[in-house]
C-alpha cells in the first residue's frame, strides 16, 4: 500500500498531529471519547470546552473547518432519532413555541447529540491525520491480536479491488440494458452478490497460495516497528488529560 492507496479521508500534511505515532493518537482518541461519554449531561459548558479542545487539535493539524464539518454528515441518521426523543419520552413537560416537549427527552436528545458529535469529530480528525497503514500498525502496537490486524489489513488492501470488481459487474449489467428499478430485479442483483462472494473467496485462496509460495507461515514480519518517545506520549495525552480535568470539574460543579 503505497501512496496510491491512501484512503480519501486522509489529508496529507506535516503538522505535529500528523507526525505523532499512530498508537498514541489511537489511545488519545479512545481516552477522549471515554471521558466525553462519562461526563454528566447537565454540564453543558463542559461539552463546549470539549468542542474547543477538538477545534484546537484540528487547527494544529491544519484541517479546514469545512472539511471536518462535511465529514460530520455521517451522523445524520441518529440526529433524526435524537429529534424524536423530546416527543416520545414521558416525564415533565415544557412548552416551547406552543409545542409540548418532555424535559427528560430534551436532555436525552442533547446527550446523544453532544456526545455523538464529539465522538464522530474525534474519529474524523484521527482518520484525516493518520494513514491507513499507520492506523493498522498502531492497532497492532496497542496489542490487538496480530491475526485480527492481518484480517483488517487484508480487508483494507483488497477492499478497493473487490469494490472495483463490483463496479465492473455493475457496468456489465448496465451495458446489457439492465436497470434495477424495484424488487423484481433483486434476483439479478443478488446473483451478482453471489458471484462477488465466489470471486472474493477464490481470490482469497489465490492470495493465500501466492503468500505461501513466498514463505508465509501465518504471521507477518514486522519490518517497521512504530515507537513513541515519552515526549510524543505526553503530547498525545494532552487531549484526554485536559478532557478528564474538564470532566472532573463537570462532576464536582
Amino acid at each position: 500500500m503505497g501512496a496510491g492507496h491512501a484512503h480519501q479521508l486522509y489529508r496529507r500534511g506535516d503538522s505535529p498531529v500528523h507526525a505523532l505515532p499512530p498508537h498514541t493518537k489511537l489511545a488519545a482518541v479512545l481516552g477522549f471519547v471515554v471521558v466525553v461519554v462519562s461526563t454528566p449531561r447537565e454540564a453543558v459548558w463542559a461539552f463546549a470546552l470539549y468542542a474547543v479542545l477538538l477545534g484546537a487539535v484540528a487547527a494544529t493539524a491544519a484541517l479546514p473547518a469545512g472539511f471536518v464539518l462535511r465529514r460530520l454528515v455521517i451522523e445524520v441518521p441518529f440526529v433524526a432519532f435524537a429529534f424524536l426523543m423530546p416527543f416520545v419520552v414521558p416525564g415533565e413537560q415544557t412548552t416551547v413555541f406552543g409545542v409540548s416537549l418532555s424535559v427528560p427527552g430534551l436532555w436525552g436528545a442533547w446527550n446523544v447529540l453532544a456526545k455523538g458529535t464529539l465522538g464522530v469529530a474525534a474519529s474524523v480528525i484521527l482518520a484525516s491525520t493518520t494513514e491507513l497503514r499507520a492506523l493498522l500498525l498502531g492497532l497492532q502496537r496497542l496489542r490487538l491480536p496480530p491475526l485480527l490486524v492481518q484480517i483488517a489489513s487484508f480487508m483494507i488492501r483488497y477492499g478497493d479491488v473487490i469494490t472495483d470488481e463490483m463496479r465492473r459487474m455493475s457496468v456489465a449489467r448496465r451495458s446489457r440494458g439492465f436497470e434495477a428499478r424495484g424488487v423484481r430485479h433483486w434476483g439479478v442483483l443478488a446473483k451478482s452478490a453471489g458471484a462477488l462472494f465466489i470471486r472474493s473467496y477464490e481470490r482469497g485462496e489465490r492470495v493465500h497460495l501466492a503468500m505461501i509460495s513466498r514463505g508465509y507461515e501465518g504471521s507477518m514480519p514486522v519490518i517497521d516497528e512504530v515507537t513513541a518517545t515519552r515526549a510524543q506520549w505526553t503530547c498525545a495525552a494532552a487531549l484526554p488529560l485536559t478532557a478528564l480535568l474538564i470532566c472532573l470539574l463537570g462532576w464536582t460543579l
Partner: protein, 373 residues
C-alpha cells in the same frame, strides 16, 4: 435523492459507560473465541488440508472486504427508496459463524475508526449486537432448519430466508435489551421494543429475500463454498446406460457435517436458555435500567400501553411474580421455551408431510464434488 434504508450504527453517548464497557468485554471474548473457531472453519474448506491458521488471514480478510463491498450494493425497493444488505446472516451462512462474527467485527472496527460510523465507545455494543447476535441466531436457525428439512437445494434457500428474517429483529431486540440496561434516556422500553422490532422486521424481510437469493446463487455454482450447507452434498453419480450409478465410492471422504444435529440442538438450547434466563435476571437487577423505567411508567399514566400489554409476558416480566429479577429471567426462559416448542412443532410437521408425500430422492444433479469444480 434516493432514500437509503440504513441500519444505524450505535453512536457514542447512546449507552452509558459501564454497559458499553461490559459490551466491550463481551465483544472481546466473542472475537477471541471466533479467532480460534475461524481457524478450524477455514481449515475445513481446505482441499489440501494441513494449513489452517495461515489460511485464516487472507480468506477472512477477503470475506470481510466482500461484506464491506456488498453493503454498498443498493437494492431499490420502490419510488426512490432503496435498502442494502447488513450481511450478518449472509456471512454466517456462507463462511460459518466464527468467521462470520470475525468478518463483521473487523468491518465494524474499520468503519468506526476510518469512517466514524458508529462510536468508538459503542464498538462493543455494535459488535455484540450486529455481529455476534445476528450471526449466532442466523447460523443456529439455518443449521437447525437444514438438518430438519429434506436435503435439497430448496431447503437451503428456505433455511437462509428464515435465518436472515429472524436474525434482524433478534439483533433489534438485543439492542433493546442493552438499551434497557444502559440507555442514557429513559424511553419506555416497551415502546422501544415495539418500534425497534417492528421496523426491523420490515428490514428483515428485505434482508431475508436478498440473503436467500444470494445464498441460492452461490449454492448453484459452488455448493462446496457454502459453509452452512456442508455435509449436504450427495455423492457424485454417473449416468451409465441411462441408469444412475455411484461414481468412485467417495474417495476424498466427504467433509463431515459441522457437528451432530443433537450437539447443535443442545448447544443452541442451552445458550438460549442461559442468555434468556441468566442475562435478563442479571439485567433487571441493575437499579438503573428496567426498574427505573418501570417506575417512570408507573408514575406517568399518559404512556400508551402497547397492544400486548395485557399479555402475561408484557414488558418481559411475568405477572404475579414479585421479584423483578426473577420475573424478568423467568419471562425470558418461558419466551425461549415457547418459541422452541412452536418452532420444533412446525419443522416436524413440515418434515413429516414432505417425507410422507415424496419418497426420498437423491438430489443428484444439483451437487458437484470437489473434483468437478
Amino acid at each position: 435523492m434516493a432514500l437509503i434504508i440504513n441500519a444505524v450504527h450505535v453512536p457514542d453517548g447512546f449507552i452509558n459507560a459501564p454497559v458499553s464497557a461490559a459490551a466491550g468485554v463481551v465483544a472481546v471474548g466473542a472475537v477471541a473465541v471466533s479467532l480460534r473457531g475461524a481457524r478450524r472453519e477455514l481449515e475445513g474448506t481446505s482441499r489440501a488440508g494441513g494449513h489452517g491458521g495461515e489460511r485464516t488471514a487472507p480468506l477472512a480478510g477477503l470475506v470481510a472486504a466482500f461484506i464491506f463491498a456488498v453493503q454498498m450494493l443498493n437494492f431499490p425497493v420502490a419510488a426512490g427508496t432503496s435498502g442494502h444488505l447488513l450481511g450478518g446472516a449472509l456471512a454466517a451462512i456462507l463462511v460459518g459463524p466464527y468467521t462470520g462474527v470475525l468478518c463483521i467485527a473487523v468491518v465494524l472496527l474499520m468503519q468506526g475508526i476510518l469512517f466514524a460510523d458508529g462510536g468508538l465507545t459503542a464498538l462493543g455494543v455494535n459488535i455484540t449486537v450486529m455481529g455476534v447476535v445476528t450471526a449466532v441466531v442466523a447460523y443456529a436457525l439455518f443449521r437447525g432448519l437444514v438438518l430438519v428439512l429434506p436435503r435439497t437445494r430448496r431447503s437451503v434457500t428456505v433455511a437462509s430466508f428464515v435465518a436472515a428474517l429472524v436474525s434482524v429483529p433478534a439483533a433489534a431486540a438485543a439492542f433493546t435489551l442493552v438499551y434497557a440496561i444502559g440507555g442514557t434516556t429513559d424511553v419506555p422500553i416497551g415502546k422501544v421494543l415495539t418500534a425497534m422490532v417492528g421496523v426491523h422486521t420490515l428490514i428483515g424481510i428485505g434482508e431475508a429475500v436478498i440473503t436467500m437469493l444470494t445464498v441460492g446463487a452461490v449454492v448453484a455454482v459452488r455448493p462446496d463454498l457454502v459453509h452452512g450447507a456442508r455435509g449436504l452434498t450427495a455423492p457424485l453419480k454417473l449416468r451409465v446406460d441411462g441408469e444412475l450409478v455411484d461414481a468412485v465410492p467417495a474417495t476424498a471422504a466427504a467433509p463431515a457435517p459441522a457437528g451432530s444435529p443433537k450437539k447443535v440442538w443442545i448447544g443452541g438450547l442451552v445458550t438460549a436458555f442461559v442468555l434468556a434466563g441468566f442475562v435478563s435476571f442479571y439485567a433487571s437487577s441493575n437499579p438503573d435500567g428496567l426498574e427505573k423505567v418501570a417506575a417512570d411508567k408507573g408514575i406517568d399514566k399518559n404512556v400508551e400501553e402497547h397492544a400486548a400489554a395485557g399479555s402475561p409476558l408484557a414488558d418481559y416480566g411475568v405477572k404475579d411474580v414479585e421479584d423483578a429479577r426473577l420475573s424478568g429471567g423467568l419471562a425470558g426462559v418461558i419466551g425461549v421455551g415457547a418459541t422452541l416448542a412452536v418452532g420444533t412443532g412446525a419443522f416436524w410437521a413440515v418434515r413429516r408431510r414432505r417425507t410422507a408425500s415424496a419418497p426420498p430422492s437423491a438430489p443428484s444433479s444439483e451437487s458437484r464434488t470437489a473434483e468437478s469444480v
